[in-house]
Symmetry: C2
Amino acid sequence: SKRYTITLLPGDGIGPEVISVAKNVLELAGSLEGIEFLFKDMPVGGAALDLTGIPLPEETLSIAKQSDAVLLGAIGGYKWDNNEKHLKPETGLLQLREGLKVFANLRPASVLPQLVDASTLKKEIAEGVDLMVVRELTGGIYFGKPRGFSTNENGEEIGFNTEVYASYEIDRIARIAFESAQKRRGKLCSVDKANVLEASMLWRRRVMAIASEYPDVELSHMYVDNAAMQLVRNPKQFDTIVTNNIFGDILSDEASMITGSIGMLPSASLGESGPGLFEPIHGSAPDIAGQDKANPLATVLSAAMLLRYGLGEEEAAQRIETAVLDALNRGFRTGDIYSAGNVCTFLVNFFIYILLP
Amino acid sequence: SKRYTITLLPGDGIGPEVISVAKNVLELAGSLEGIEFLFKDMPVGGAALDLTGIPLPEETLSIAKQSDAVLLGAIGGYKWDNNEKHLKPETGLLQLREGLKVFANLRPASVLPQLVDASTLKKEIAEGVDLMVVRELTGGIYFGKPRGFSTNENGEEIGFNTEVYASYEIDRIARIAFESAQKRRGKLCSVDKANVLEASMLWRRRVMAIASEYPDVELSHMYVDNAAMQLVRNPKQFDTIVTNNIFGDILSDEASMITGSIGMLPSASLGESGPGLFEPIHGSAPDIAGQDKANPLATVLSAAMLLRYGLGEEEAAQRIETAVLDALNRGFRTGDIYSAGNVCTFLVNFFIYILLP
Ligand SMILES: CC(C)[C@H](C(=O)O)[C@@H](O)C(=O)O
Ligand SMILES: CC(C)[C@H](C(=O)O)[C@@H](O)C(=O)O
């Protein structure tokens, strides 16, 4: 039987409760496929701050690096909101992404027929939406230097950051995006602001250069402001979107809200080699933490992505995805996606039932 | 009788045709209020490139500066898309904003009861949306230095830009936003990425400092990724939004699409003193240029903003806004906002009829 080591990073808010569901689901799906998991629970974010004084303890990163895949719950909360930058929970997450070198963040956003009513968009606009945002995750303005505070020539305080991309960073994320488009409907839209920013001009130039390696993919380019509009106007026009770190942050959240079920959306972050990082798109939702209200499906589906992209265990991944669809088909819903006519209950036990052979 | 000099910058694509409608409307509304206009037509953007080789000729800027207000159509088109940066139509627009020092861009986005069906959002989500995005327009990553192309220590090409704000730039846009919120429903939401970016941390700190001057305004803060989601989830929660140049570019376009009638939305860009710049939110739409299909209402309503914010001519501004509502109430629509049951025709003549005493 196969054995994998998984680092679990529950984090803050609803993180621990959704991770505990996903862990059960992984164990069960694994046992049905002859896979054994060794789980290591490590602190990150606010939980790590409270425990150790820093948001990403060295031990957490080194255990994560040595494992086969990393599953993260959520980080952040009001309690740490006014912390200085190096003591923010978010800084721990950014250090983790950087430390694992996971430069490619895959964020699928699709509208399930069962949940089309949960979208705020009209039914005819929302139904059939099935897109993937490929976000560059370890470069751009998130990590660019110089950054910080200073004073200008008039003695005024300034705050500054650097948006910067090197050609190799663009090339490697472009290749991931072209490959993702190949496996989907063969269409890639690269989003930038090349009419204003030099970093975007290089982005567009490199994406066009890499396109010659993928003649079967239809490439288009769109300015970020227009993309933000088109996602609302007609999200079905998109298959795969590739964009930089900050535009990807904004557009993937917008896209996920368009599906109406942000509590359902997983993500995978991958590097050239080494363990991938898998996490739900949603935040730590401190206001509902510990009340058994959180939708665990985004984390459960992140565990499925972990099996597929992180371990190559396609059968186990599909087992989980099928169980999620079964649960929804039977009318099980958490409050965030509940509408009249559904059975409303916490989903964890139901999963375990569905997954039984 | 009062006399004002207005610089008209038709620009590219549908720019000239919508400017010509707005000019007629200004003349008529003015004549009914005892106001005379002297119009000066000047080239900008692609039109200026074709004529003079540069996107903002010196004469255009100096005439604009000497006038009482500037009305712009739209700039850009496929023809110039691959131009080098200093020869892009967009560069002319940025130089114009910088040259006129119009740092505050007001972008109202409201859903008119007559047009609620034009939104892709469900009726109960879209109806009653009435928000104003106050975008910083002459700072941030659009203008920050250093910027350009270079090579890194490994000889790889890099492209880079600087996101930078000085405290005075934040203070002055914050004051405009607080004042705008005071005149509206008294709520201001400042959007930033203060969990990651130093430029945003300073932004948040200064907005909080300025808040003490406006105790009657209720201030909140939101991260930009969350704001992009909340605009889709529940746009009615917003009254006034204030944000930086690039986030404002993205969010104001998203907000305008939520109204479903981007062909209807005006904008005003104001400085400390000197003429304001008024322009529709929409682009140059080269694919429908010259076909009498463009919706002129965004430019007509920009002319109303010009009268109100640029010249202090409230009565004439209201005359135009009332005429627009009358035209819509009578069922007149351009194709972009047309739905069954409406009279569909080009609106210019109808305006002139409505405005007659
Ligand atoms: C928490 C924050 C630092 C993070 C980001 O901006 O990347 C989050 O918004 C995300 O998208 O994963
Ligand atoms: C044309 C472009 C430079 C411009 C901008 O990014 O500011 C436009 O998108 C706008 O919002 O007015």
